[in-house]
Point group: C2
Chain length 477, copies 2
C-alpha cells in the first residue's frame, strides 16, 4: 500500500487526474500525466464525420430552422427514433449494397445485431405500424435525424449526415405526391433559390416496371440489371452503355429489336412521346396530372424523366429527384417517392405513403454554390467588458439585460482592458458593453460597435432596443 | 433464365417489393412477400431507447427551446460533434466503470475501435484542444447531444438520453463556477420551478482531496475507496457505512481515531463547522464567496455539502449537483464542476474549464413531478377539410394561408365529410377550416374550434389573425 503523503501547503489549483484509477492528488504531485498517452489522443473527429464549431453549427441551425418552418407550414409534425435499430430492419428494406457494405453494424453486449441507421424510412414505417390503428390519417411526419453509412468520404458524401425526412401516410392519390414535391420546391424557394437553379425530375416506378416487363418483355433479372445500368447512364459513354445493355439480352431479344426500343424510350422527354401502347398505363395520366398541378401553381421546373431511377427497392409508383443545375455541381441533390408497401412489412394492413429525404451536406453545397447562405452573426448579442473588479456588483445589471431577452456574455477573466477588447474582437461578437463602477451607478452604458468602431452612451432602455433590433430571433435558431 | 411474363392489363397499384433482390413486379404477382419474415420484424424501438411520436417530440422541443433560450442569454454558443468517437478518448477520461461495462464500443469495417459517446465532455475538450490558439476566451459552448450507455434500463436511466452540456473555458476564478451554477438555477427558474423544489449542493474536489490525504492522512487507494463509499452513503444504513469504512483502515489508523474524525466531517453542514486546520484551504474561501454571490442574487437554495462526490475522475475543484426535493423523487438530477486538466490531455497547454450536463429524462421527470409541463398543442394550426373535389382549386388559397405564417394541413384523402371530421378530431389539431367551391369563390371560410364546437365564418384576414394568435411561436419549437 502506497505511503500517505505528508501534509503540505494547501492550494486550490489541484488540477490533476490520472487515467488508470480513481485517483486524487495533492498539489505537490503537479501535472504529471503520461505524455506518451496524451500525444496519442487525436484532436480530429472520426473519419468522414464532422465537428461543428459554433460558426458551423450556426449554418446548420439556420438551415434546419428554414426546413422546420416550411414543413410545419404544410402541417407536418416532428418525430424521432433511436439512432440504433436492429439489423433486421434494414435486411428487409434497404438496398442490398447499403446493408452488405455500408452499414455500421455491430453486436451489442447482449448479443443483439444492431445498426446505426443509414436511413430513416424503415424507422418511421416501424413507428407507424406500431400505432397503425391509433394514428389519424392523413398522417404528416417529419424528422431531421443523424444517419450513418460506412463509405469512402467524398465531395457531398460523408459517413454521417443529417437528413430531413418528410412523409405523408394514408393518401393513395397523387394529392400526396403533389404535396411532397411542392414541399421540396417550397424549401428551396424559402432559401431564396430561383427555379432556374434546379430541376424537379419525375417518373413512375410502376410505369418503368411495366415498360421493362410488359413492353420490352424483359425478365426480372434483366429488368433489374437494366435499371441499374440506366441509373449509371450519365456516368458512362453512350457506346459503353449500348455495349453493356446489349450484353444483357438473349439472342431472341436481340432479334426483336429490344435494345433499339429501349434506346428510343430513353430519348423520350415528354409523356406524349411515349409509345402508344404505354399511354393507357394509369401512371401516365397521374404523371400528366401531377405535372399540370405543379405548373399551374408556379412550379415551372418540373419535368418528366424516364431515366430517373431511385436507389431504394421500396418505391412503388411516382418517384422524383431534385437536380442542381449549377454548372460546377450538376448532380442529383435529393429525392423521394411513393412506397405503399413498407408499413405492411410489420404485419399490419398497408398504408399508402409518399416521402423524401434531403441531406444537410448536399443542401449546404447547393446553397453555397448559388450564394444563398446569409452571413450569420453569433447567437450572442454583446459581450460585457468589466472595468475594474465589478463582477459581483454587475450581477443585477446583467440579470436585467438577460431578462429583457438579450444574449449577453461577460468577460470574467479578470484580464486587463486591452486583452479583453482583443478577445472580444476575436470572438466575432458584434457589440461590446463596458461596465464599471460609474456605469453601474448611473445605469448609462458605453456600447461599442466592433465592426464600425463607433461608441455610444445609452440608457438601459435604448441599449436593449438597439441590441434587440439586430438580434436574430430565437425562432431562427 | 426465368421466362418473361406475358403482357397483362396495366395497373398503377403495383406495390410489391422483395427482400432478396432488386426486383420489380407486374400487378399480376400481387402482394406475396414472405409472411414469416414480415412477422419477425418488431415494431418496438431498441431496448432502453425511445421512439418520439409527435406528442413526445413536442415535449422535448419545448424543453430544448427553454434550455437554448437560457444558455444563449448567458452568451453560450451551440456546437456539435459526431456521435462516434475513438474508444481511446474514453479510456483516458471517463470513469472506469463506464468504459469497461457501459459503453457501446465496437470495431468498424476499417478495424478502428469506436464508441457511441457516453458523455460529451471528452468531445468538447478534444474540439477546444484542436483550436486552442484560434479560439477566443472566455469561450462559452453548449450542445444537446444524444448519449449512449449500455446499462439496465430503470426509472430515469435509459440506454440513450439527450443531455444539455454547458461549458465555459478560460476563466480560472470562481466567476466561472458561479456563472455555471447560476445557469443551472436559471434553467429551472425558466421552467417555472420554485427554489423550494430543488437544492443546489456544492463542494470542492480539491478540498475533499486535501481532507482525505492531508487531514485524515489516508493513502490514495483508501481515499478513492472512501469517496466511493461516501457516494453510496445515502443508499446504505449508517451501521453498514461504519462497518465498511472501518474495514478500509489500518490498525494504526484505527488507533488515531481516523473513523471518528471522518464521521465528524460528514456531519458538517456549514463551512464554519469545518475543523480549524481546514479553514485556510483556499477552496473554503472560494466556496464561501460562491455561496455568498449566489445568495445575494436570489439563489437562496445553495448549500455546502461535503458528502457530494461526482462520478467522473476529471474534476479538480468546485463540484455541484442539483437535487430534486420532491418527496417521491428525492434524488440528484444533474451536476457538474471544474475540470482544469482535460483539454491539456491532448498535448496542449491546460485551459481552466467549468461545465455541467443535464439529461432530458431526468429533467422531464422533474417537470412532470412538480406539474411544470404545459399542455402543448400540435405544431399544426388547422386542418383544411375539402368539401367536394377541390384539391386542385384550393392550392392558391392554401398557399396564401401558409405564406401568412399559418401551419395548415389538408385532408387530401378524398373521403366523405364525416370521415374527414372524425380524423381531424382524432389528430388533436384544434381547428378545422372547411373549403369548398363556395368558400373558394367568396374567400369567406368556415372555421370550427374542435374543443368548443363553435363554428364561425371569417374573411381571410380575420382567419389568419385568429389562428396566428393561438399559434405557438416557432421560437418555442
Amino acid at each position: 500500500m502506497a505511503k500517505a503523503p505528508k501534509a503540505s501547503p494547501v492550494s486550490s489549483t489541484t488540477c490533476v487526474r490520472l487515467r488508470s484509477e480513481f485517483v486524487m492528488l495533492g498539489t505537490r504531485q503537479g501535472v504529471h500525466y503520461n505524455k506518451a498517452q496524451v500525444m496519442s489522443l487525436s484532436t480530429q473527429p472520426y473519419k468522414g464525420a464532422r465537428d461543428f464549431y459554433p460558426e458551423d453549427k450556426r449554418v446548420q441551425k439556420y438551415m434546419f430552422s428554414v426546413l422546420r418552418k416550411v414543413v410545419e407550414s404544410f402541417g407536418y409534425q416532428e418525430y424521432d427514433a433511436p439512432i440504433i435499430e436492429p439489423l433486421e430492419l434494414y435486411l428487409a428494406k434497404t438496398s442490398e449494397e447499403i446493408v452488405a457494405e455500408q452499414t455500421f453494424s455491430f453486436t451489442d453486449r447482449g448479443g443483439r445485431s444492431i445498426t446505426l441507421r443509414p436511413e430513416m424510412t424503415p424507422s418511421v414505417s416501424r413507428m407507424v405500424a406500431a400505432r397503425r390503428q391509433e394514428l389519424a390519417y392523413p398522417l404528416r411526419l417529419y424528422s431531421i435525424p443523424n444517419l450513418w453509412r460506412y463509405e469512402r468520404p467524398q465531395h457531398g458524401r460523408l459517413r454521417e449526415h443529417w437528413q430531413l425526412n418528410v412523409d405523408i401516410f394514408g393518401v393513395p392519390s397523387i394529392a400526396a405526391d403533389h404535396e411532397v414535391i411542392l414541399i421540396a420546391d417550397s424549401i428551396l424557394q424559402a432559401f431564396g433559390a430561383k427555379r432556374s437553379f434546379y430541376e424537379i425530375r419525375i417518373s413512375s416506378r410502376a410505369l418503368i416496371n411495366w415498360l421493362m416487363l410488359e413492353y420490352l418483355r424483359l425478365d426480372f433479372t434483366q429488368a433489374a440489371a437494366f435499371m441499374r445500368l440506366i441509373d449509371r447512364m450519365a456516368k458512362i459513354s453512350q457506346k459503353e452503355f449500348v455495349t453493356l445493355a446489349d450484353a444483357l439480352l438473349s439472342p431472341a431479344q436481340r432479334e426483336t429489336d429490344v435494345l433499339q426500343r429501349l434506346m428510343a424510350l430513353l430519348k423520350v422527354k415528354r409523356l406524349v412521346e411515349l409509345p402508344l401502347a404505354t399511354q393507357q398505363h394509369p401512371a401516365v395520366a397521374e404523371l400528366a396530372k401531377l405535372l399540370q398541378i405543379l405548373r399551374e401553381n408556379g412550379v415551372n421546373n418540373a419535368v418528366f424523366d424516364l431515366t430517373l431511377m431511385r436507389g431504394f427497392d421500396y418505391y412503388t409508383n411516382i418517384v422524383f429527384e431534385i437536380f442542381d443545375k449549377h454548372p460546377d455541381n450538376n448532380r442529383s441533390m435529393f429525392g423521394g417517392g411513393r412506397y405503399d408497401g413498407l408499413v405492411a412489412e410489420f404485419g399490419v394492413n398497408p398504408v399508402p405513403t409518399v416521402g423524401f429525404g434531403m441531406g444537410d451536406v448536399t443542401l449546404q453545397n447547393f446553397l453555397t454554390g448559388h450564394s444563398l447562405l446569409p452571413t450569420l452573426a453569433p447567437e450572442t448579442d454583446a459581450i460585457v467588458i468589466l472595468v475594474g473588479d465589478v463582477y459581483e456588483a454587475a450581477q443585477k445589471t446583467l440579470a436585467v439585460l438577460r431578462n429583457e431577452g438579450l444574449r449577453i456574455a461577460v468577460d470574467s477573466s479578470g484580464r486587463k482592458l486591452d486583452a479583453q477588447i482583443k478577445a472580444a474582437v476575436k470572438s466575432g461578437i458584434l457589440y461590446v458593453i463596458f461596465l464599471g463602477e460609474h456605469e453601474l451607478a448611473t445605469q448609462r452604458f458605453k456600447l461599442k460597435d466592433l465592426r464600425l468602431g463607433e461608441e455610444k452612451e445609452l440608457g438601459l432602455e435604448r441599449l436593449v432596443s438597439k441590441l434587440a433590433a439586430r438580434h436574430r430571433p430565437a425562432s431562427e435558431l
